[in-house]
């Protein structure tokens, strides 16, 4: 059993991922400057900061979509300068996007099934027959996916193309697709953005449940401070690409730099 959601971040848990002195720039724009932090196994780690602080860029670096110019990423004990997206995926890093990135022409079921892509191995000739190993594999994974569908309470939209779904449900399907990968590290980019209160509460519940039931390590970006303070075990704060604070929600809340960043105090 995992501890309660607001468990104290303890020093004993092993580090799943650590980012060392990472810098990322696009031409002259420095998106991330010399940022280091770590994510411990089983915790919920929030990344917050004002707009343009480099939060999404940080996630993109972690799952290999951007390649930082400097710094290293250590994941599961292996140190690299950069990740590659499919390597990150095959080693158990899944993510959702700020603007939903679902496969719009496919049904909810197919979208979540596609999250199992890496775990399905059957070759194309068995696929053509849809018999023997192909059918067996398909049914096994269908069963797993149905568990996720039950978990996220989206049974009723199983057969609907996701392009037709309302935004809140799309976000939920996207979480489902990420969960179908059985990730060790789940990156959530503003999972509650644009939702109403009820949808937000649902989503919070799912995030907590994922952490508790599956023991998944979660890194999330979120603007709703109430959500962050409730969910996160530890928070890292970025501003203008720099790390300005790191600690428990309480410590961060009282940090003068953080208050200044959010209130927009000038930097000179």
């Amino acid at each position: 059993m995992n501890a309660a959601p607001n468990k104290k971040a303890n020093g004993k848990a092993e580090t799943l991922l650590s980012v060392e002195a990472v810098s990322l720039s696009f031409g002259g724009v420095k998106a991330i400057r010399d940022v280091s932090f770590d994510i411990k196994k089983g915790e919920i780690r929030a990344i917050i900061g004002p707009n343009g602080a480099g939060k999404t860029s940080m996630l993109n670096v972690i799952n290999g979509f951007y390649h930082p110019q400097e710094g290293t990423i250590t994941y599961k004990g292996k140190t690299r300068n950069q990740m590659r997206p499919h390597v990150a995926a095959s080693q158990g890093i899944a993510r959702t996007f700020q603007n939903v990135a679902l496969f719009k022409g496919m049904t909810t079921l197919d979208n979540i099934m596609s999250g199992r892509a890496l775990r399905m191995k059957c070759n194309i000739f068995w696929q053509m027959l849809y018999y023997g190993p192909a059918k067996k594999e398909e049914l096994e994974h269908r069963e797993f996916v149905e568990k996720i569908i039950d978990f996220l309470e989206i049974q009723h939209i199983r057969r609907i193309p996701v392009g037709k779904l309302p935004y809140g449900l799309q976000k939920r399907v996207e979480l489902g697709r990420a969960l179908a990968m059985e990730p060790d590290l789940l990156l959530l980019d503003e999972p509650m953005a644009g939702m109403n209160l009820e949808e937000k509460e649902d989503m919070c519940r799912f995030v907590v449940d994922v952490s508790e039931q599956y023991g998944t390590t979660i890194a999330l970006i979120e603007h709703d401070m109430g959500v962050v303070m409730d969910l996160a075990d530890r928070v890292v704060v970025l501003d203008y690409g720099r790390k300005i604070a790191d600690g428990t929600p309480k410590q961060v809340q009282n940090n003068q730099d953080v208050i200044d960043a959010y209130l927009g105090v000038s930097h000179d």
Binding site: G105, A117, I124, A134
Partner: protein, 358 residues
Amino acid sequence: MLYRESGLFKTSYAADQVIFPIPQDRWGILAILAIAFVGVPLIMDDYWANAVFIPFLIYSLAALGLNILTGYCGQLSLGTGGFLAVGGYSSYKLMTSFPELDMLLVLGGAGATTALVGLLFGLPCLRIKGFYLVVATLAAQFFIIWLFYKVPWFYNYNATGQISVVPREALGFLVTTQRADPVVRYLFVLSIVVVFALAAKNMVRGRFGRMWMAIRDMDIAAELIGIRPYMMKLTAFAVSSFYIGVAGALIFAVWLGAAESGETYGIDESFLVLFMIIVGGLGSVLGSFLGAAFIVLMPIGLKNLLVDGFGMTAVLAKHIEITAFGVLIIFFLIVEPHGLARLWQIIKEKLRLWPYPH
């Protein structure tokens, strides 16, 4: 009233994943297959075989192939004519080099050769997308046609520059040349198309179909869940080219009996097959058949109506046919981009609730 799902209780995922979950659909498809395999051969003669059924079936196969690449994987291609030509010419080379070879093996070999050529011309898809890929496939079209025209080895140094079919058997039945019984030729093509259509349906509803559609809908997200876009685009090119290659071989060997690269497999063919999947429905197996039926049968129907019915001259009828063609394609692009298959789906959805739509 007659067509509905209520009262159907599925108790396993296997039952939920069959191709036709509704019994009426299952009976319908069985009836169609029974008519195709038993009813149609009763009226079959050379005219029906050569003008209607065989071209319809062969173009369905080609449309199915292009639909895998364009409709499911989202890679637009104008090289279909060229790939049909590879199928036709490789079947000719196989038939003349290995006279003992069964026609089924010849078709397999022609498909495999085309798949390799398709892979080769699919290579640029790593770097380029959309319009630029269209231009690359257009280059394939022109290059392949030119190659078969320029290099006499491909047509066995014939003085005419044409390839003509030689008598060959499939499982002991003569299926090529005009000496073959039209019923046998029709059944041969029909069996192949049914098998390929079933295989296509199985692929697109399974793991590969999902990965292709993922690439089509959002390649970045697909990459981040571990799908390798390059691999999937290349498999789509290979599978699609295999289908088109078999169709090309059938056009040459079973339907026309003779072929000349630029005449038989020109750029017109590429557009024709593309129109079929646009009218029929992108990303639909059924749509490939509907589109092929529409585009093969409409000119025949119009001609019969206008020339024989209204006594118009053949030239005028031809012009009206071309105009109608253009209008219909524009109509479908604007009104229903998912084509006839989508219309059929809408009818079925309405029918499920009829006569109590609320």
